[in-house]
Amino acid sequence: MSQDPTVFIVDDDDEVREAIALLMDSVGLAAETFDSAWAFLNCFDADRPGCLVLDVRMRHMSGLELQERLSEEPLHPPIIIITGHGDVPMAVRAVKNGAVDFIEKPFNDQALLDAVHRALEVDAEQRGHALEVAQIQDRVERLTKREREVLEQILAGKRNKVIAADLGISQSTVEAHRAKVMEKLEARSLSELMRMMLLLYPDRTKGTPEG
């Protein structure tokens, strides 16, 4: 988790591939090269941070195909598409599918490096976000059943008196559970609790996560 990010380079042209690797090396970035999409997929490790510099046109599996395969993974390095002459429509498609950037060959070295740095930031962001979610998830799992019910009610915006009535317990018991939830989830305020829950369940604005 604390590894340095790597620039993964997939291009079936040896010379271009090696040249890009050299460029990365020149700015102190670690680079790994692959001569085909398959070669990359074989070595793919979602845990390794970094970004992917991908040539659109390759034999056997094109850059777009590789992009599609990776999108099935929960986490993958951001993708920078490099294209040759006349491949712009493909590049646009790739961006729509989530690619960070596309660069036309022959490219300006700075443009590529900027794109790589941007991609690495995105990756780091992605990876930081994912870490927080995992921590919250862990904390949520420490809650008792009753505490989760109470959390649920809190997220629904109900007051303690209402929660006590709904759950058939005393208001003081609700308050005790509530303090326990705040403690276990390490939330210092209700708003922080809400932010955590939104991270965990980005799709819902209300309601209780059910395990």
Binding site: E18, D109, L112
Partner: protein, 742 residues
């Protein structure tokens, strides 16, 4: 011949009376002298008339006994010729003949007639009945029946004959009938009695007969009557001397003198004169008029040069003349026919020659003939026009030296090598496609011609006939066509390249990308102080290699779109493969197609128009790649070259779906396509190019396995070009396979 024939007749006829005369003179004892007398009125009458004269002479000239030998017309000359008589007493005509032919000479001329009528001249009288109103002039006698005494009678025919001729009448032709009464009296009576229309007798006959009471002169009238002073009798003709008494050449002169004297002294009233009904004798007269008359009538002796008139010949020898004439006419007809045919033949010949010339002159090709010496025998108008040489300058002169002396490249053209002359030497026709003839003005023009041996009737070669054509325009048209084709090919290549532009740009982009990226990286490393010399050198080397790679691509492109090396040349198969692979690499990569090449042993060099074959390969390669785009199976194309005899077979093998069920032969026609965007000209153009290289573009296809397009090119030995490039070295090991991983 007629003369000889006449002579024989005369001799035969004359022999009899001569024999008859001889016994008559036998009994005489002393010198008998025979007087030949023309017995024109019969022998008895002659004796009666003349015996008294003979007796008179016998009495006057002692020692001689004179006798009369009557001779008819035919017997006179033989008797004279034989010397059977000593004197002759004949009419003036016969005398003249005898004088000319036998040398007789006159010694006295008869004074004819008695009493007051005696005279030594006589003529002819032509008369008709007085009541014939239709006959008044001699000319009126034409087509009448006419009677004379005898054909040989001078007064009884010949004088009238001559006179009638002077008036334009030919007695032999112009009378309705010409009769001879034989005796004067008969003629007169026949005319009087109307048996004939007219007649002629000698002078005095009419008067005699009138005196005797036989006729009445009033019943008759004289035609063409003349008046001659001192000559009262009726007459129509000129007058001629009377009968002469003449001696033969062999008769002694003194006897002749004695006879002459006796005759001249004879009194008019002597018994002899009375018996002979004459009045004595005078000195001989001039017989020139008689001579003239005989000449006019062509009578003997003047029948020699032209013994017969045509009429004579016709009457006498009509059969021979007829046959001869017929023969002559036949010959003449045949001759004229032959001449006519000959003329027609020569006309036909002339016409034929003219037609020949017309045909020769009307064709556009130049035509001329040479004999075995190489000299022109004929030339046509077109040749004169094309060469500028006139026929008379060429005919009889060596055409090779005049207009075939130098080759197109300026080298001399020896006459031994001249195809025209070789033709009559080896007796073989030939066609020469590429030669030049020289004009009179010193310029030349390209020709093609046929040279054919000319043979005579015996099949002997006697020369060559040459038919030639100026091919300047055709050359230019071919050149234009070739240029257009080259333009077309160039255009096709450009458009092919245009269609492939994106792939080719990528092919350049790759090395350019590598170059810039490497360079920038290197700069950054240097800036960061992290660059060591080794790394930098490595990077620089890579940059150089990539620049070369880009340069190579550009070189291929430029060669491919260059405006044609028009000539066929030896070319390395590997070079052509390389070009098309470079141009196709990116397209193949995009389509996920692997390209391979393989060059078999001995298949490394071909004779080809390089860019055109590259065009073909590119077309085939693109077709193969495009055919496999949507194919899930393995996608590969193999460029294959392998030796096949003197040819190199080029194959483009793919692993595509094959050609389907359509008929493969239509594939090479223009605008036949299976591709939605295709124009369908690629294969048609390729087919044309391969055919221009002497090959055929063919296809093998197995559905689901793949298709193979293949064609052949002429192989070239390596020695043909010294340069051995890397590609051909690579192909030296048999069937080395180079996978071209794009």
């Amino acid at each position: 011949m007629p003369a000889a024939f006449l002579l024989i007749v005369l001799l035969v006829v004359g022999a009899l009376p001569a024999a008859a005369v001889a016994p008559a003179s036998e009994p005489s004892a002393e010198h008998q002298v025979l007087i030949g007398v023309l017995s024109h009125r019969g022998d008895a009458r002659s004796r009666r008339t003349w015996q008294s004269t003979a007796d008179y002479l016998t009495a006057q000239i002692p020692g001689y006994r004179f006798d009369i030998a009557p001779l008819d017309f035919a017997a006179v000359e033989p008797a004279v010729a034989a010397g059977n008589v000593d004197f002759v007493l004949v009419n003036p005509a016969i005398y003249v003949m005898l004088e000319v032919k036998h040398g007789v000479s006159r010694i006295a001329t008869l004074r004819n007639g008695t009493n007051g009528h005696a005279r030594n001249l006589f003529g002819g009288v032509i008369f008709t009945r007085a009541d014939r109103d239709d006959i008044n002039r001699l000319e009126d006698l034409a087509h009448k029946r006419f009677m004379a005494v005898d054909p040989t009678s001078l007064g009884g025919f010949e004088m009238a004959n001559a006179e009638l001729r002077k008036h334009g009448l030919d007695p032999n032709k112009d009378f309705k009938q010409l009769l001879f009464g034989g005796i004067h009296d008969m003629v007169v009576l026949a005319v009087r009695d109307g048996e004939v229309d007219a007649g002629t007798v000698r002078t005095d006959v009419l008067e005699h007969m009138a005196n005797a009471g036989t006729i009445d002169l009033a019943e008759l009238k004289v035609l063409g009557a003349r008046e001659t002073p001192g000559f009262p009798p009726l007459h129509s003709t000129p007058l001629y001397p009377e009968w002469p008494f003449s001696k033969l050449p062999g008769t002694p002169t003194d006897l002749a003198q004695a006879v002459a004297v006796a005759l001249l002294q004879m009194p008019a009233n002597s018994a002899a004169a009375q018996a002979g009904e004459y009045s004595g004798w005078t000195v001989p007269l001039d017989y020139q008029p008689v001579d003239q008359l005989l000449r006019e009538l062509r009578r003997p002796p003047y029948d020699q040069e032209a013994p017969f008139t045509l009429a004579d010949a016709l009457t006498k020898y009509w059969l021979a003349v007829l046959i001869g004439t017929l023969a002559l006419v036949t010959m003449a007809l045949l001759t004229s026919r032959v001449m006519q045919l000959n003329q027609r033949l020569s006309r036909a010949n002339t016409r034929l020659e003219r037609r020949h010339q017309l045909i020769l002159d009307s064709v556009a090709e130049g035509i001329y003939g040479v004999d075995l010496k190489g000299c022109a025998t004929f030339v046509n108008k077109a040749m004169e026009r094309m060469t500028g040489w006139r026929a008379e300058e060429l005919i009889g002169n060596e055409t090779h030296e005049i207009m075939h002396h130098t080759r197109a490249d300026g080298e001399p053209h020896p006459r031994e090598d001249c195809p025209v002359y070789t033709t009559f030497r080896d007796d073989h026709s030939r066609f020469v496609e590429d030669d030049v003839f020289w004009r009179r003005n010193g310029s030349s023009f390209p020709v093609e011609y046929s040279a054919t041996p000319i043979r005579d009737e015996q099949g002997q070669t006697i020369g060559t006939v040459v038919v030639f054509r100026d091919i300047t325009e055709r050359r230019e048209a071919a050149e234009r066509f070739r240029r257009q084709e080259a333009e077309q090919a160039h255009f096709t290549r450009l458009s092919t390249l245009g269609e492939m532009a994106s792939g080719i740009a990528h092919e350049l982009n790759q090395p350019l990308t590598a170059i810039t990226t490497n360079a920038r990286a290197c700069v950054r490393m240097i800036a960061a102080g992290r660059a060591d010399t080794n790394t930098c050198r490595e990077v620089m080397t890579k940059i150089a290699e990539q620049a070369e790679r880009a340069g190579e691509v550009i070189r291929h492109i430029r060669r491919f779109v260059r405006k044609e090396e028009p000539e066929m040349a030896p070319v390395a198969v590997a070079d052509m493969f390389e070009t098309v692979l470079v141009l196709m690499r990116e397209d193949a990569r995009r389509a996920g197609v692997a390209l391979h090449r393989q060059i078999g042993f001995g298949a490394d060099r071909v004779m080809a128009q390089r860019t055109q074959i590259e065009q073909v390969l590119l077309n085939l390669l693109r077709n193969a790649v495009e055919a496999m785009v949507d194919q899930p199976r393995e996608r590969r194309v193999l460029l294959l070259a392998r030796r096949s005899g003197e040819l190199v077979e080029i194959r483009v093998v793919d692993t595509g779906p094959g050609l389907g069920t359509g008929s493969p032969e239509h594939l090479f026609e223009p605008f036949v396509t299976t591709k939605p965007q295709g124009l369908g000209v690629g294969l048609s153009i390729s087919h044309g190019i391969v055919e221009a290289h002497g090959g055929r573009l063919r296809v093998d296809s197995t559905p689901g396995i793949g298709a193979t397009f293949f064609f052949t090119l002429p192989h070239v030995d390596k020695g043909h070009e010294a340069t051995l490039d890397a590609a051909s070295l690579q192909s030296l090991d048999n069937a080395s396979t180079t996978g071209e991983q794009a």
